[in-house]
């Protein structure tokens, strides 16, 4: 075996109340794709961030090609050949794609301090070409979709290839969680291409993906490496087991927990709903029913959900909730009628990062913890403790800023926010498991089923069709802003995803 390009020994990072990295050791060899998996909060991101100098470890050494380095920041890490792909938020929204790709390393695009726009676009195009993307380098970044921005991120990190002489290490932190299928395929093709010139560290919660691309997989738990596995020797179920330390039993769809709701009254009836992105959408959801909405990007399914919650304006249609006319006004009025919404962009739309877990949890139904206008801090504390225990939310204390929790725990808080309402009638879930680990995912699944069992109607948009089919009683398929069909997905007779896929495209 050749010498590792990058190795880490005894890396430790403590935060108040948590040890994010606990004497972590691992290595990356040349031309290798290393997979990192672990539960939410296992320390994956912290590890990657310390490898690009964003987190200063409390102890341990990082060696690049045998030499110990103290990384001072992203620019410094780049100069020794380590680059990282962050999530879409690490692009500057008001700049062009080209500027973003070359930001801070414009090279020949800036001569004598003067921008040469044409050279800029050419250079950026070269990077985009590397990943076969045809995004216009002159487009403003905030006009791109999630997935496109992710591609730009990858193109951007590839610029370090040109900056160093040796082989770079590219760190990818959950690059696929917001990508669509063909984009993932493009990315994987790119990783294959990269492998010839670089080493890659790849983090994902989708175990099959990890198995597909990695040469070696490290399993992390509580800031330590608990296993190093050879992907060719294991399957996703083994990994799952290693990850959460318990058996994942039951059928592929775990649908035995699903409850029938045939006789239940219709809770939500949508007739001819139109918005900027959808036209004349009609469907209904019964109490206790989970209805999935499937569709490709641009099918308008997100519009439907947001319009129902009053988050965007609708241009027509009639909606009733429990046979009462339901005015699509503002999120506030929706909440007051017993509707909840879990947004897909958790960090910006779901939580208020600097505020405490308790405040985030009680915010939508603060009335529950008030006597008249006065907040009852004790009662709130009791309520929050109850839900933290009930959902197994891992937080040092209810007063911890929610922004410091791991994604899964943040998402549980957001779900709890709606669950504290005993009269919750309809919950709209927009990609509720995005970025969650398998353990957290099954927790969320269980919560969704509990909610439905308690009589709440659930409208679900999901990252994967399988997930949607598993959780739903019925799937409404949308295409080009209209409902094309409805597929029944009853317990025990779940259809093949391909059935729905064909309707979508």
């Amino acid at each position: 075996m050749s010498d590792p390009v990058l190795s880490v020994e005894g890396l430790t990072k403590r935060y108040p109340g948590v040890t994010a990295l606990d004497g972590m050791s691992f290595e990356v060899r040349p031309h290798e794709v290393v997979g990192l998996i672990g539960e939410n909060g296992a320390g994956k991101s912290t590890l990657l961030k310390s490898l690009v100098g964003l987190v200063t470890p409390d102890a341990g050494t990082i060696r690049v090609r045998g030499e110990a380095v103290r990384l001072r920041g992203v620019a410094h890490a780049g100069s020794v050949g380590i680059g990282m792909v962050f999530q879409e938020q690490s692009l500057v929204p008001n700049l062009t794609v080209a500027e973003n790709i070359l930001l801070g390393a414009e090279r020949s695009a800036v001569r004598g301090g003067i921008y040469r726009w044409r050279a800029m676009k050419t250079l950026a195009q070269e990077q985009l070409d590397k990943i076969g993307s045809r995004i216009d380098p002159g487009a403003r970044t905030d006009t791109l979709t999630f997935a496109q921005r992710q591609m730009v991120e990858v193109a951007k990190v590839l610029t370090i290839e040109e900056r160093i002489t040796g082989e770079p290490v590219v760190l990818l932190d959950e690059p696929t969680s917001v990508l669509e299928r063909d984009e993932i395929a493009t990315l994987f093709a790119q990783i294959e291409r990269l492998r010839r010139r670089a080493s890659v560290v790849f983090v994902s919660h989708r175990l099959d993906e990890v198995l597909e691309v990695s040469d070696r997989v490290y399993v992390l738990r509580n800031g330590q490496v608990v296993a190093e596995v050879d992907p060719s020797a294991v399957d996703a179920t083994d990994l799952h087991h290693l990850l959460i330390g318990r058996e994942s039993g039951g059928s592929h769809y775990h649908d035995e927990a699903q409850r029938e709701c045939d006789g239940a009254p219709v809770r939500l009836r949508v007739e001819n709903l139109s918005t900027a992105g959808c036209t004349k959408v009609s469907f209904e959801v019964r109490a206790g029913e989970v209805v999935g909405v499937a569709g490709v990007q641009g099918s308008g399914r997100e519009d439907v959900c947001r319009a129902l919650f009053g988050a965007i304006r609708s241009s027509g249609g009639r909606v009733t909730l429990d046979d009462q006319p339901f005015r699509l006004g503002s999120p506030r009025s929706a909440v007051r009628s017993g509707v909840g919404y879990v947004p897909s962009e958790r960090r910006t739309d779901g939580i208020i990062p600097p505020m405490s877990v308790a405040e985030n949890l009680s915010m939508a139904h603060v009335g529950e913890v008030c006597s008249g206008p006065v907040l009852q801090v004790k009662r709130e504390r009791g309520l929050v403790d109850h839900w933290v225990r009930r959902l197994g939310i891992k937080t040092p204390s209810p007063d911890t800023a929610i922004g410091t929790l791991s994604g899964g725990n943040q998402q549980k808080v957001v779900l709890a926010r709606w669950m504290i309402d005993d009269d919750l009638r309809l919950l709209i879930l927009d990609h509720p498991t995005r970025g969650l680990d398998v353990g957290a995912k099954s927790d969320v699944y269980a919560l969704i089923r509990d909610l439905a069992a308690a009589g709440c109607a659930v409208l679900l948009l999901s990252d994967t069709l399988e997930e949607m089919i598993a959780l739903s009683h019925r799937v409404v398929v949308m295409k080009d802003g209209e409902v094309v069909t409805t597929v029944e997905t009853p317990k025990g007779a779940k259809p093949d995803p391909v059935v729905i896929l064909e309707e979508m495209v």
Partner: protein
Amino acid sequence: MSTDTAPEVARPSEAPRQPDGSSRVRRELVRFMPLIILAVLLVLLSLRNPDLLTQRSLTTMADSAAPLMVLAVGITVVILCGGIDLSIGALASFASVLTALWVPSMSGAVVVPVVLVCALAGVVQGWIHIAARVPSFIVTLGGMSLWTGLALAFSGASTVAVTDIAALRWAFTRIGGTVPSALVIALGVVVVLGAVMRFTPFGRWVASVGHAEPAARLAGLPVSMVKIAAFGVSGACAGLAGVLLVARTFSGAPTLGESLLLPAVAAVIVGGTAITGGHGGLFRTVVGALIVVLLRTGLSLIGVDAGFEPIFYGVLIIIAVSVTIDRSKVAVLK
């Protein structure tokens, strides 16, 4: 999707991360920094002019601080929401004119209608800001001109003297011979507003809106109402400040409070409230107001030469804020 993306890490809070014990001491120190800097300034200035530390001098300073404090506390609420209210100075002037005009018929009770009118003015500005989505900067800029114009019109472009100043005596007297009533009123406002912010959901709503308006809206918080209310509070405070000014100057005038806008915002920032919204508080603003008043008046009294006085002021206010500001909480970028 990973929840801890780059922006989170890049927060300055990461920089001085230290083991628990000493970082707690630091945090507490930062919390009380505005108070400490106030004391230090007082001592330094009184070294040059010992009269500054006399009880008479201190109460005088408190008198001066009261209207500024009321204004600054009001605008703190708007700033916490992430907005700005440029109209408070003009509104205070307008209030002073109304007060002066109405005292003859209403005597001391004049404070009620004046505060209500100004609160309404604030609400209207807030409503326009919300309904038409015009930036608060522009709405309140317009408001600034409008209230000044109305004050000019109502007063006939001149000073309106209050002959029956006894009617406003309550706002400018010494309780028990020593405690300035204006200060008591100002602190009363702070305590009441502070209690509302702390013991009702309003304070959280304000912070939520300031930190992350989209998330607050999607959680079903009454975002628009909160913002309108914030402007209402700011307007009401401007109204009260106007009354306090009249009690002190015995007259109302269309430009009386204009010059208090910048010091009020400065007080908010010196107190350590983030100009970008979310983080901060009313009590910090109180200390900020005292620091600003001390710098504004104290310097001219220690007898520095012409020209050097503004320079000292500039340097000291920069030093003050660089010491008081809590860099771990405030997005210091702006």
